[in-house]
Amino acid sequence: MAAVLVLPLTALLVLVAVLLAVLLSLNRVVRVPAGGDAAVLRATSRRLLWPRLAGLAAGVAASWVVFAWDGLGRGPMLAAPVLGVGLLVGTLAGELTVPRPHGPVRGASLEIRRARDYLPAFSAPLAAVLSLIAVVLLTVTSVAAADDDLGRPGRALAMISADGTVRSAVGPWPGWFYAWPMLAVLAAAFLLSALVVHRVVQRGRPGLDAAARAVDDAQRAHSARVVTAAYGLCVALPLAGVAVVAAGALFRQSDLAGWAGPAGFAVLGVALIAVASAVWYLAELFSRPRIRTS
């Protein structure tokens, strides 16, 4: 029954993301002055794009393997972060292959490039907020978790009476059993994202004329947007799953604990925010800036 609902819902959300991506692409026009070495700029674009697509393909393949890895739900939870990590590795590979300035005479401006010059103003803070919510939620669910019926730690939500008797235990519950792999993958994704953004900011400029600089800045901003979107998906999708599972367990315990119902609705709200964020990040991934010469 759940699969019957999940598949059309996923297709609908992907469709919304594609439509949003089209709208974003139409509105994201970068005007650059005429001129510049078009061959160098095209070569840079190709070197950035192909490794990124290869990383995406590798990420899809790896997430497919991870999806089927664990019958207890950890595979589906880690599939999206693994896909995101693949995309991040591909983006890093693309940034590393951008040609270095060459020729006998080379110039450089004395500008200071910073990550905040290129990171998207909305998506990056949103990713930070989602990360914070994920850490807080997983900490709380880990503290509240109990062993399941087979003794696996942190897989059930148990209601225990004053004399220590377990009145009811429901699972799955996103306790430590699920929290540690998710937090480990998120930490790895965060460090990798920081590394890629550092590379995006620090790599050399291909040219010093106004057109080359404008196109280069647009390419850096797009790379930073891809990194943010990949990391955002790493956080948002598993967070949505964790929140839905936690809400389900809380609702099933609401007969025994009055706080469980409201807490379930609050966690369901987190799931909705996470799903909306995932759609946004997917749209950011699909969108591309249109470069127009003025």
Partner: protein
């Protein structure tokens, strides 16, 4: 902007040092101004990080800049102001005009040769 000619007999670190020192002396880079990070400038010039780091170190030893961990490299105030930027531009213009005249050119030709690339 600074330029490095890797075929010049002067080593790249010395070219960077000399150009930055000149920009600081004539006030283009004022006291407190931050220089680009070593890695960024090295990447923009296609040079090794150590080359730019050596230029910065020599600037620091010459009293032009100060480098602090985490705070970047900043320009120090200079005790004696060097020649003004305008004076340096006039000096370069005089040298250019002298070269044009040596080649048999006129002042008008010199000005026309300057305005053409500037308009492109």
């Amino acid at each position: 902007m600074i330029e490095v000619d890797v075929t010049s007999p002067s080593p790249p670190y010395e070219q960077i040092r000399a150009q930055l020192a000149q920009l600081i002396r004539c006030g283009v880079l004022g006291a407190g101004a931050r220089l680009p990070p070593v890695r960024q400038l090295a990447a923009d010039l296609g040079l090794a990080t150590g080359t730019v780091a050596r230029a910065y170190k020599e600037l620091e030893q010459g009293g032009y800049v100060t480098g602090k961990r985490g705070g970047g490299t900043r320009v120090l105030s200079q005790p004696e102001p060097g020649p003004a930027r305008e004076e340096l531009i006039r000096e370069h213009a005089r040298a250019y005009l002298a070269e044009v005249v040596r080649l048999g050119g006129t002042v008008e030709e010199a000005v026309a040769a300057l305005t053409r690339p500037a308009a492109e």
